[in-house]
């Protein structure tokens, strides 16, 4: 592009004062400005906040007690009393969706947290020290190039027991590698830069360099990856549970609600059984993805808008 030279010139002028601190306050302000310009990302934060509030506040907000069955009423679609309708055993679907969201969101958030922590540590080590950690990491992630992750997940969940905690453990155990790979790549590229050379020359230790100089510079990709991990975990839980490999009642999650909504497939009048848990699931994943996009754009203005 012919316009790139004046533009990059202008950009270079804007990003002039990096100073001693790699993440200067001016960068943070720039980040905020760019993030809030991404309207869908801002909306997504509101949506996610709302979802978390509604699901984790279910004990106070839900119209009916969890799993309360009422076999006296005829199962039916949305009504004034049951906003989302009731299922086969007379459970209020809104209540179940709220409680189900607790598990789904808990799994998503916990997996994102643990895989990020482990991934950052291992990735930084692999990038900084190389050697066998690096080799092992690459081979591990490559496994999923030839074997479907879903299959490995399925087997692992059967081994560990079909509970929400084993979902968290297995998904985090598999998910950290992606984060690690990203961090490793970032560390490798940043390692070459002058300020790290300078820190090293002035006698800083390896750990210190990683923590003080390298990590603040990969915060962007790390956070983007964490959002992606939430989405992936929520989808993985619901998929495996739907297939009958995951959680089981009396636990409730969006996956379980969808698994129980099988009758909707044969009876049009029961479509709401699929619609409401499905909508919450898609809404969560959409919001998390938009949030990731917003973060990506805010951290890296060069990236193309909205491209995956």
């Amino acid at each position: 592009m012919t316009t790139s030279s004046p533009e990059t010139m202008a950009a270079a002028e804007l990003a002039l004062p990096p100073g001693a601190e790699p993440v200067a306050r001016s960068n943070w302000q720039l980040f905020r400005r760019r993030f809030f310009r991404h309207k869908l990302a801002v909306l997504s934060i509101i949506v996610l906040f709302f979802l978390i509030l509604v699901c984790f506040g279910a004990s106070w907000l839900a119209p009916f007690p969890k799993n309360q069955t009422n076999l006296l009423i005829t199962p039916g679609g949305p009504s004034a009393k049951h906003w989302f309708g009731t299922n086969e055993v007379g459970q209020d679907l809104l209540t179940q969706v709220m409680y189900g969201g607790q598990i789904s969101l808990k799994i998503g958030l916990a997996v994102a947290f643990f895989s990020t922590v482990v991934g950052v540590v291992v990735g930084a080590m692999a990038g900084f020290y190389g050697g066998w950690i690096d080799q092992g990491l690459s081979r591990g992630t490559d496994l999923f190039l030839i074997v479907p992750e879903l299959a490995i997940l399925g087997v692992a969940i059967q081994r560990l027991g079909r509970s929400d905690n084993s979902f968290i453990i297995v998904l985090a155990a598999l998910g950290w590698m992606y984060v690690a790979r990203v961090v490793r790549g970032q560390v490798l590229s940043i390692k070459q830069k002058e300020f790290v050379e300078a820190a090293r020359a002035s006698g800083a230790s390896g750990t210190r360099i990683v923590v003080r100089h390298i990590l603040p510079n990969c915060i962007g990709p790390i956070m983007v990856n964490a959002t992606l991990a939430i989405a992936a975990a929520v989808i993985a839980e619901s998929t495996l549970t739907y297939l009958g490999l995951g959680l089981q009642p009396p636990a409730t999650s969006w996956g379980i609600l969808l698994n129980q909504a099988e009758s909707a497939v044969t009876e049009t009048s029961k479509f709401y059984l699929v619609f409401f848990p499905g909508a919450f699931l898609v809404l969560t994943v959409l919001a998390v993805n938009f949030l990731g996009d917003g973060l990506r754009d805010a951290f890296d203005p060069q990236s193309e808008h909205g491209s995956k």
């Binding site: 030839i146 074997v147 879903l150 299959a151 994943v285 993805n289 995956k308």
Partner: protein, 318 residues
Amino acid sequence: MRRIVYSVPVLVIASFFVFWGIRTTYDPTAKFRASRDSARIIAAKRKELGLDKTIIAQWWTWFTHFLQGNLGVSDRTNDRVWGMLTHAMWPSLQLMFWGTMFALVIAIAVGVYSAVKQYSIGDYAFTGISYIGIAMPTFLFGLLAISLLVTLPVTKFHLTHPYLYSVGLHSSGKSGFNIDYLRHLVLPVLTLTVQSVAVWSRFQRASMLDVLHADYVRTARAKGVPRRKVIFRHAFRNALIPLVTVVALDSAFLIGGLVITEQIFSISGMGQLFLFSLTGGDAPVLLGWFLVVAVFVIVFNLLADLMYGVLDPRIRIS
């Protein structure tokens, strides 16, 4: 490609963990417990299956047999594993073939359109749809598709046969490539590929945009080549090159989708075989399954490499 080859040793290690996981979770002799004289039968069965040895020894037996080309027999049905796999492979290969073709055609068409008409209403619409496609779990799409495209028309128009079928690949008693087959194929193929179409079309859009800004496209315009020809002769072929890699890397992901799709649409292929074997604790079949899948992905990647060479003369020479 080299990465694919390197991961073979990892696969061997992974096979051990699968073996260990399945063997320590499920007891293949459980079904004999209810029978009379259960203790004796179970003991005999354990000896027959080699369950009295250590887990490593059991796995080693499996592995050496495998190296001799013997995949063993199913714990569940006593059928030969290889036979079960080849039997299950055919429907899955059909789904994969049509799915990949369909996803490629749609993703490329949408991607090229969106890039050429960047920021048009169509581009925004496709962007929106692909976001939803990416956020939509495969199984949920399958459920919605059956509810809205099969059950709804049937109830609404009181049909005896739906327009699109949601069970199997053929109506009973029918076979071959015909209208009946296509009516069975539409929904599973859509379900299998919804995520791939969404991701690949985004990718194709980005890659096409890249290419449209490339110097050689400007050169072509400076030569006076008409716009249509610039797009379809100069830009298009270059924009396909990166997509080949992505499609190849996604092949394992597609097989994951196969598990879901076959379950929803009751197609007795590899995906269903996996689910049955996993819930039945059938270690020999599962191990064979992983193996076949890995080989398939490797072959798929080799094909992609060949494709790469056809599209890009720089690769062809070196």
